[in-house]
């Protein structure tokens, strides 16, 4: 294994379930970019929002065990596609800085927890200069003519002291990535606004309003689609468009992509390989309607 491009990989529950299209496109895209993903052996849920909301120690302990598993891979970096998992891992690492808290986290986690692993969001890996070079060299289709709304949501960048990724109010990493592939990035007010997070089951009407507002903003900005790096955001924006329509809050039919699907498509992967047909709001055909320009030979 080429250690420079190998990462300990934490997919999280969503990527094995309702966001299986994110998992599929992540693996396909990384293979094209020679990024090796070594999935943690027997990982457990990071606790997501409910664990820290009910018992912060439970949240820290659950991630603590995962960090231990990541340490056992011998790799120095763990990569996470899911924004919520990323936030929980970073929060735990932040908490480990305090020795007294660290001792308690290790007690709850049931053993030593490494504090020195690098924790990176998959979107961050795509910003590395060497990966950008590969993206340029391996790109087979241009996204020229596509107008995309980059959507970061909450947990990739906030709170910045903990997340240590991009700017919390006006992040640019996804903008730059999409532009590098030839897409036009629309300026819109929703890039860091909350989609409604974990409320769609318990208070769906609030999520319809919050996600509906994002869809309205993106549509007003002339976007052909929204691009996200979070399975929860994708679920709220993609899955709930029918309910939003039936609630009289707007009729959008706006495709929602994971960034891995858009990047994968530019790298020459097919829609079926990227799980684009699995969305509840039809997203098929949009990327292909644009001129499939070959910019570089394979």
């Amino acid at each position: 294994m080429n250690a420079a491009n190998a990462y300990a990989y934490f997919p999280g529950c969503s990527l094995h379930g309702t966001a299986c299209d994110y998992g599929q496109s992540t693996e396909q895209m990384c293979e094209r970019l020679d990024i090796e993903l070594l999935e943690l052996e027997d990982w457990n849920c990071c606790g997501s929002s409910p664990a820290h909301m009910v018992n912060p120690w439970l949240a820290l302990g659950l991630v603590g065990r995962n960090l231990r598993l990541a340490g056992q891979t011998g790799l120095d970096t763990v990569v996470l596609p899911c924004a919520a998992c990323y936030a929980r891992f970073k929060e735990t690492q932040h908490a480990l800085k305090d020795p007294e808290t660290a001792a308690r986290i290790e007690y709850v986690a049931g053993g030593a927890v490494p504090s020195d692993l690098k924790i990176e969001p998959l979107l961050g890996v795509l910003g590395k200069p060497e990966i950008r070079v590969k993206l340029h060299d391996y790109q087979q289709r241009s996204l020229d003519g596509l107008k995309l709304a980059p959507y970061y949501g909450c947990l990739l960048t906030r709170p910045s002291e903990v997340a240590q990724f991009d700017d919390p109010e006006d992040p640019q990493s996804l903008d730059e990535l999409l532009k590098a592939l030839g897409a036009e990035v629309v300026s819109w007010p929703g890039k860091v606004s909350c989609c409604g997070a974990s409320l769609p089951i318990s208070r769906p009407e609030l999520v319809w309003r919050m996600s509906g507002q994002l869809l309205a903003w993106a549509a007003e900005a002339g976007a052909d689609a929204i691009v996200t790096a979070c399975p929860m955001c994708h679920s709220n924006l993609d899955t709930r468009q029918g309910q939003i329509r039936r609630a009289g809050l707007g009729d959008y039919h706006l495709p929602i992509f994971y960034f891995t699907q858009v990047v994968g498509y530019a790298l020459g992967l097919d829609e079926s390989q990227l799980g684009i047909g699995r969305h509840l709001t039809n997203a098929k055909g949009l990327l292909g309607r644009r001129r499939p320009v070959v910019t570089q030979a394979g």
């Binding site: 529950c13 969503s14 094995h16 379930g17 309702t18 966001a19 299986c20 299209d21 027997d42 990982w43 457990n44 849920c45 606790g47 997501s48 929002s49 409910p50 664990a51 820290h52 909301m53 009910v54 018992n55 912060p56 120690w57 439970l58 820290l60 302990g61 659950l62 603590g64 065990r65 007294e100 001792a103 308690r104 007690y107 709850v108 986690a109 049931g110 909450c154 947990l155 906030r158 709170p159 910045s160 919390p168 606004s193 909350c194 409604g196 997070a197 974990s198 409320l199 089951i201 318990s202 208070r203 769906p204 609030l206 919050m210 899955t239 309910q243 047909g277 699995r278 969305h279 509840l280």
Partner: protein
């Protein structure tokens, strides 16, 4: 009582004549490391909060009630349970109060001290989610929705999405269970033990208890 009426009453009730619980502020500051007393009510948190319109107490009013020791007001409001921890307020707070962290600690206190939650459905979802982790080590969506519907009494909630999600292959038939479930069970047991100890003991007792 409708939430708007409750909100009006709550705002009017922010005065010193109400019963106070000074332990709560001490607990919050001790466990979160946040200086709640720094808040001077600028309202920037509420201005950026995506859920403030649905809350009866605004986020900064939670801090004010804490400063005044008005525990009952905090636990009667639905604010605690509507906060989704989006981290917008902490990003913008000029006093650097980590409000989502304070909210976590308040929910923890509410659970340990059996304060009834003003948002029954939100708590039903959280409990079901955590139960799923406790049973399999991971979150399994079918079990999650089914469990929520039984716990909350909303038996047919989200049913409109079930068929399309199965057709799109988004719902997997069987949960993938963690093999080392004994380790997960241990995490649950010890996390609860630490939470209980932390929320029941004052600073002096906690220090006497020593490290863990």
């Amino acid at each position: 009582m409708r939430s708007s009426q409750r909100a009006a009453q709550s705002v009017a009730a922010l005065d010193l004549s109400l019963p106070q619980e000074p332990d709560l502020l001490e607990y919050i500051e001790r466990t979160t490391g946040e200086n709640v007393r720094n808040c001077y009510q600028c309202g920037k948190c509420a201005a950026g909060c995506p859920l403030s319109a649905a809350m009866d107490l605004q986020p900064q009013q939670i801090l004010r009630a804490l400063q005044l020791g008005q525990t009952d007001l905090i636990f009667a409001s639905d604010t605690l349970w509507l906060c989704v921890s989006c981290q917008t307020c902490v990003t913008r707070c000029p006093c650097e109060v980590d409000l989502p962290r304070v909210m976590d600690a308040l929910r923890s206190w509410a659970i340990v001290h059996h304060h009834a939650a003003a948002q029954r459905e939100v708590v039903a979802f959280q409990r079901t989610f955590i139960k799923s982790i406790e049973l399999t080590g991971r979150v399994y969506e079918v079990g999650l929705i089914g469990g929520y519907n039984v716990t909350s009494g909303h038996l047919f909630s989200s049913f409109d999405l079930a068929a399309p999600m199965v057709l799109k292959g988004k719902i997997k038939p069987l949960p993938r269970r963690v093999k080392a479930m004994d380790e997960v069970a241990g995490i649950f047991r010890r996390a609860q033990e630490v939470q209980q100890r932390e929320a029941r003991s004052g600073r002096a007792q906690e220090e006497k208890g020593g490290s863990h």
